[in-house]
Subunit: 106 residues, 4 copies
């Protein structure tokens, strides 16, 4: 996400005085609520979905995720790289290649 | 997310030959599964949470969201700005300021 | 669910003095967390799932749903029948037969 | 849930020829989608919620859970009692009493 987009999200919250509702818990609830709306695009079919609707719901997940990063003062690249280091250790490519088995069963 | 982080996520998937599992539907399921694990950090308390755990679960949401953007060939800034335009119209600041009422009740 | 099972769930909560944690909001979070664990059984495949794991996660959804019914003093049959009346009106069988279109598009 | 309510749910599905959409995976998705709609009643507040809306969303969770029990030929009391036995072992009342710590940290 570029700085202009991030600034737009922050201004949206500030203009509405919504920071008071953005506790970490409320944002975590909001992310799962939007993620479930994204899933609803695929409720009865994995192939016949409304791409515009998918875009809107995925955007909502990304906006609330940005709100939570901001609220907790986190750097997106830092936490994602920290997690990717964990993932690379949990799923060594020689073992995980071509299968979707969970790490604790690998 | 910077390009280096995006490239790391893509390489992780390629090295494990996991693109075959990354259908849009499977990624939507994965986002909601990780979002619920994020919510679990706040299951019984809104204040007493494990920040390291929150970082890991939020990172998982962001990684699967990046996978879905890639899978559908979407630009993050484009879809977020499109949605923010909708949000700004649905929640005019003079009406929405300081309250958390849903747009269809505003 | 028969009365004996309901009583066992209630006794479990009472013996651990857990009613204090069972606010409606916490139970709603718990239901979605367990529902996502149920979905995890189908994360990468719709056919290759662990039935024992499915049973356990579905049971968790049912237990927390029972906790929420109890907390709010609701009768399961009453609310389900109220909702089925709504569903029958929203999805008249002649229109809805054999398709999975959402009621607002029917 | 009494037999009459169960029969009504089954008839609703049959009359609409919807059994074809009720794969275990689709029902698991549906349960989490409805659970998130239930959570939405508590998105910004744990105390100021619309009870009628809560009833409707909880009913949806219960209806899809019943559909999944039916689809997999499961007995609700059997799976709930099986899980309660596990819970009673994972959370011995002397250890778990009055705290909400997860079993793997008890």
């Amino acid at each position: 996400m570029n700085q202009q987009t991030i600034d737009r999200i922050r201004k949206f919250t500030e203009d509405r005085d919504w920071d008071q509702f953005h506790t970490p818990e409320n944002l975590a609830k909001s992310i799962v609520i939007e993620a479930a709306e994204l899933l609803e695009c695929f409720q009865w079919s994995d192939s016949d979905y409304d791409l515009q609707h998918v875009k809107e719901e995925l955007a909502d997940v990304l906006v609330y995720s940005r709100n939570l990063l901001d609220k907790l003062g986190l750097d997106e690249d830092e936490i994602v790289n920290m997690k990717m280091t964990q993932n690379e250790m949990k799923y060594p490519s020689e073992k995980a290649k071509g299968n979707s088995i969970k790490y604790d069963k690998l």
